[in-house]
Amino acid sequence: MESTVFAARPHVVGTENTVDQAPAAPVEEILTTVLANDSINDEYKHLIVTASPKALTAKPGQFFHWLCPSPDEGDLWLRRPQSIYVVDKERQRLEFLYKCVGRGTNGAATLKPGDTFNMVGPLGVGFSMEPGWKNVVVLGRGVGLATLAPISQLIAENGIGATVILSARSPDLAMSGDLFEKAGAEVITVTDTDGTSAVENVEAIIEQRVADNRADAFFTCGSNRLFMLMKRLGKKHNVPGQVAMEQIMACGLGPCYVCVRTFEIDGVKTLKRVCIEGPVFDMQEAMGW
């Protein structure tokens, strides 16, 4: 009778015989099945899992809290937040594009098709589009490119045009361009290798879109340098903006107050929780990426 198992009742995706403890709750702990987990370059992997109806309500910019397998002989004791890459309602799948950087993501990297993977979600406040916006500018770099990718779904659904600037060290790391191109966006890749990723060049591209009246809103994630640029241009031209933020996290649901970042609202500094008040925040209120 002595059990060493953690008390938990994750909803096993695709089965009818697991009981939903709280049907009215928008978030659940699910046991997904891994369909694919392939490397797309030296640093990033693309995970595809089965999803429950509740998980499929995920909005662009929301995240799931992963209970990663261990990459070593030890165990992992906290979950890892991971933003959604694609919500595929038709095939009832979730896709994630993640960078292998620590024990959590290196553990996730060991997942193989057929493995089960426990996650909690959908969590947090995602990106939003306001009626009246006709053209937006999306600027991302590194891991931010994966987080910004679901904006392609938002612009397609809302018939909004977009200029998408993908910044990367080299062309093979400029991800998510295909998703934005399918959504009809103009995709511009800037890289360190050819020098086009310099702030002055990116600034000129954005300034041109503002001059052409094709910048009703800004979106960014993945680089403090690019965030500061976009925040400055947003303030200069009075363009509203949204930024997706990160922080070390514990509960993922609000109560623990681990994942705070600093924001400035009307000249007053305040702390907000990335998990429940974000991860997407007003660009002018954020102090740094």
């Binding site: 953690f6 008390a7 938990a8 709750a25 004791w77 906290l78 070390i248 509960c251």
Partner: protein, 314 residues
């Protein structure tokens, strides 16, 4: 049918499971049915607005985590006006956790939060990162007694005193709290600890040190519950590393009347409800009709003669 109800003195619960302070808020309704809990318990309230400690506020360690949140909150006025009504949307009895760095203010806060709907107070005199003479009163028997005595005089609500595992002799602190008028003891807060990042050579926590929780601390806190239960006659609420029903059973056998769950909810957000269900099943299979009968039921009449004990097989 198993009777899961328990009492902490006059405080009645439909089951022995409640959240540990700081790991729960009404925001948990995003993922769970809060009405299943034995009680609800607020994050610790301070009089003033507090930002809390610089991040990082959590570090993962083997079998648990260290936190240094630093008791952030919007202050007592905001709490009374906005947060109490939010908690009272749910049916389990509400326990309010309060703290202060000054004995007299502790009592004043107790008086101010004694409002309709609040069924008990937990006084947090054991935040591990606070000064022993400024809020972390549970490191000393005289400081503990002084706080409890003043709070006792300020409210008629049951007072649960949250003890510190960092005290040199926690049993003497427990006795001091009982003598000063505590109705129950929460055993215990987190264990002061540290992690250093071997890549950066820097502490992993913004506050450098923090309080450890999770399964790693359970054997330590269980021992404290056991020793304290032998020394006091007031009820004990066990708190430390519970992740499954058998852990609840262990704490109750050691002398706890109820338990608090913290870390487990971070790993599995509906862990408390799962533990309640598993506890009922565990009792049912063992033919235990009342879970309350487990309290203090440890069979500790061990053989004291080493030769006789070692003569028997395993």
């Amino acid at each position: 049918m198993v009777d899961l109800s328990v009492k902490i003195g006059s405080f009645e619960m439909t089951n022995p499971v409640m959240p540990a302070s700081g790991t729960f808020s009404p925001e948990m309704e995003q993922v769970m049915d809060i009405n299943r809990l034995g009680a609800t318990l607020t994050k610790t309230i301070s009089r003033e607005l507090r930002d809390g400690n610089p991040p990082p506020r959590v570090a993962e360690v083997e079998c648990g985590m260290i936190n240094c949140i630093g008791l952030p909150g919007k202050g007592i006025e905001y709490f009374l006006e906005n947060q109490i009504p939010d908690y009272l949307r749910f049916s389990p009895p509400l326990i309010v956790s309060i703290t202060s760095t000054i004995h007299e203010d502790f009592a004043a806060m107790a008086r101010e939060v004694t409002v309709p709907g609040v069924k008990a107070l937990e006084i947090n005199i054991s935040c591990p990162t606070r000064d022993p003479n400024g809020g972390n009163f549970a490191l000393h028997a005289d400081e503990t007694a002084e706080t409890v005595r003043l709070v006792r005089a300020a409210t008629d609500l049951p007072i649960f005193v949250k003890l510190s595992p960092n005290a040199g002799d926690i049993v003497s602190i427990a006795r001091a709290a009982e003598e000063a008028g505590a109705d129950a003891l929460t055993v215990a807060n987190t264990i002061l600890s540290m992690r250093i990042d071997t890549h950066s050579f820097r502490p992993s926590l913004g506050h450098k040190v923090g309080g450890m929780s999770g399964p790693a601390v359970k054997p330590i806190i269980l021992r404290m519950v056991y020793q304290i239960s032998k020394a006091v006659s007031i009820p004990i609420i066990g708190c430390g590393g519970i992740v499954k029903a058998e852990d609840v059973v262990e704490y109750m056998l050691a002398g706890a009347s109820a338990v608090q769950v913290g870390y487990a909810s971070f790993r599995n957000p509906t862990a408390m409800v799962s533990i309640i269900e598993d506890l009922e099943e565990w009792c049912d299979k063992r033919g235990i009709a009342r879970v309350a009968d487990l309290t203090g039921a440890v069979q500790d009449d061990m053989e004291t003669d080493t030769y006789i004990a070692a003569a028997a097989g395993i």
